[in-house]
Amino acid sequence: MKRLLTAALALALAGWAAPAPAAESTLAKIARTGTLTIGTRRGSPPFGYVNQKNEWVGFSIDLVEQAIKPAVERKLGKPVKVEKKESTPATRIPLLTSNAVDLIAGTMTDTRPRRESVDFSLTFFVTGAQFLVKKGSPIRGIGDIAGKRVAAQQGSTNARIIRARVPGAQLREFPDQPSAFQALAQGQVDAYTNDGIQLAGLVAKAPRPGDWAIVGDFYSYEPYGMALRKNDSDFRHLVNVGLMEAIESGKYLQLYEKWFGPKGEVPYPLTPENKRFLTMQVVPK
C-alpha cells in the first residue's frame, strides 16, 4: 500500500513538473476544439455562482460570454462555445498551466508574485478592503480604529495590513465570515474588515441590509483580472480587446448595472474613480 502511494505521488509530481506539451497556442487550441474553456467559481456571488434556478451565472461569466467570446469568434471566423469549470484559489493556477482551462474568470486578484506564474488581462473589477459597521457608528475608516475592536478573517491580507498600520487596534480574527459578522451584530467587535465587495455581498444577504454601512476608503488594493497562460500574447491581446470593446461600447456598464446596480444581486455602485480607471485602460483603436 505504501509503495503504491509513493508511486502515485511520484507520478503526480512528475505530471506537475513536466513541461507543458510543446506549444500549441491557446488560439490554435480553441480553433481546433471549437471550445473556450474557462475556470470560474461556483460560490462567489455575483462573479460566478450557481443561482436558485441552478444556473451557473455571474458577472465574470457574462464578461466572457458577451465580451471575450465575440472577439475570439471574430478572430477565428467561426462560432466558439464556452465551457465552464470550477476553479478555486488553490487549483486555478495548476488548471491553467496544465491546459485544463484557457482562462480564469472569477475573483482573482492580480498580484506581482502571481505574475511570475501566469499572465493577466487588464483589470475588470476593482475592490479593496473597507469596514463594515452598524449604521451610525463613529468609525469612518482606517483612521478611526485605534483602540477599537476590529474583526478580520484569519490569514487575510487585511488583518496583516491592520496589524502593521494600526498597532493600537484590537484585532479579533475569525476563521469564517459568518462568525465575524455575528460578532459585529452583537457588539463583540465595533467593525469588520474585508474586501469591500465581500462586505457588500454580506450586507445584501443580511436580514436587514439597512442596518449596516460600508465605510472608509480602500486601504488595500485588489484589482481583479483574468488569468491566462504565460507567454501567449496573441490570446492575451484578444482577451484585452474583448474587454476594451465592452468598456468602450457601454456593454461593460450594462453588465455592471445588471449585477451591481441598485436592483442587482449585490448592489455596489461604481465609483467615479474606478470608472475613470477602467476607461483609461482602453488604448486607442
Binding site: W16, A17, R149, G155, A159, F174, S179, Q186, V189
Partner: protein, 238 residues
C-alpha cells in the same frame, strides 16, 4: 517541484514572539479552565453518588447536557449566547477586556467539568461500601463523610484518568481559535499566513503541544506514585 523547507521562519521575524504569546495564552486558558473543571467535576461527581435523588438528578443533568454537545457549539454559546444576557455596562467592559478569552475558558471548563465528573464518580464508586459505613459509624454527617473521607480517597484513585482528561483539556483549548482567541494553534496559522511555510509552522505547534503534554504526564506520574494508597491499588510492576 519538491517542498522546500525553510526552518528559519520559526525564529526569524516575529514568529518566536508569536509562538511564545500563543503558548502563554494556551497555558492561561487551560490552567483556569482546569481549575473550573476540577471544581465542577468534584462537586458533580460527588453529588451523583449521594443518597438524595434530586441532587443526583441535577448532577446527572449537568453531566449529560454538557458532555454530549460538541465543544465547538459550547464555544459559540459562551461567546455569542451569554453576553446578551448580561447587563449592558458590564457587557461593554467585558468586550474590551478579553470577552473571547473568558468565553473560551468557561466553554472549556464547563465541558471538561462534565467529563471530569464521570472520572470522579467512578473513583467514588470504586471505594468499598464499608468505607462509607465506617465513616458514618464515626458519627460524621453525609457532607463530612464526603469531604473528609470519600472525596480525598477518590482523588487519589483517579489520577491516571484525570491526567488523561487534563491532557485533552489542554489540546482542546485550540478550539477557542474559532472565537478569535489567539492561542498556540492560532499563532502557528499566523506564521503560515506570513511565511507560506505551513509544514514548519505546524511542526512547531506540534512539538510544543507534545512537550507540554509530556511534561504534564510526567508530573502527574509523580503525583500518582506519591499519593497512591498502599493496599488499595495493585500497582503494575510493583
Amino acid at each position: 517541484m519538491s517542498y522546500e523547507f525553510r526552518w528559519s521562519v520559526l525564529w526569524s521575524g516575529q514568529s518566536g514572539a508569536w509562538l511564545l504569546q500563543g503558548l502563554l495564552t494556551t497555558l492561561a486558558i487551560s490552567a483556569l479552565a482546569w481549575v473550573l473543571a476540577a471544581a465542577l467535576g468534584i462537586l458533580s461527581g460527588a453529588l451523583r453518588t449521594v443518597p438524595w435523588r434530586p441532587l443526583r438528578a441535577a448532577a446527572a443533568f449537568y453531566v449529560e447536557f454538557f458532555r454530549n454537545v460538541p465543544l465547538l457549539v459550547w464555544m459559540f454559546f459562551w461567546y455569542f449566547g451569554v453576553p446578551p444576557l448580561l447587563p449592558a455596562a458590564f457587557r461593554g467592559w467585558l468586550f474590551d477586556h478579553g470577552a473571547e478569552f473568558w468565553a473560551g475558558m468557561f466553554a472549556l471548563g464547563v465541558y471538561h467539568g462534565a467529563r471530569m465528573s464521570e472520572v470522579i464518580r467512578s473513583g467514588i464508586q470504586s471505594i468499598p461500601r464499608t468505607q462509607f459505613e465506617a465513616a458514618y459509624a464515626m458519627g460524621l454527617t453525609t457532607a463530612q463523610v464526603y469531604r473528609l473521607v470519600i472525596v480525598p480517597i477518590a482523588l487519589r484513585l483517579i489520577v491516571p484518568p484525570a491526567t488523561n482528561e487534563s491532557l485533552n483539556l489542554l489540546k482542546n483549548s485550540s478550539v477557542a481559535l474559532t472565537i478569535s482567541v489567539a492561542e498556540l494553534t492560532f499563532q502557528t496559522r499566523q506564521i503560515e499566513t506570513y511565511t507560506a511555510k505551513a509544514i514548519e509552522a505546524l511542526t512547531a505547534g506540534t512539538v510544543i503541544y507534545l512537550a507540554l503534554c509530556l511534561l504534564i504526564a510526567g508530573v502527574m506520574g509523580r503525583v500518582e506514585r506519591r499519593f497512591a494508597i498502599p493496599g488499595l491499588i495493585v500497582r503494575g510492576g510493583a
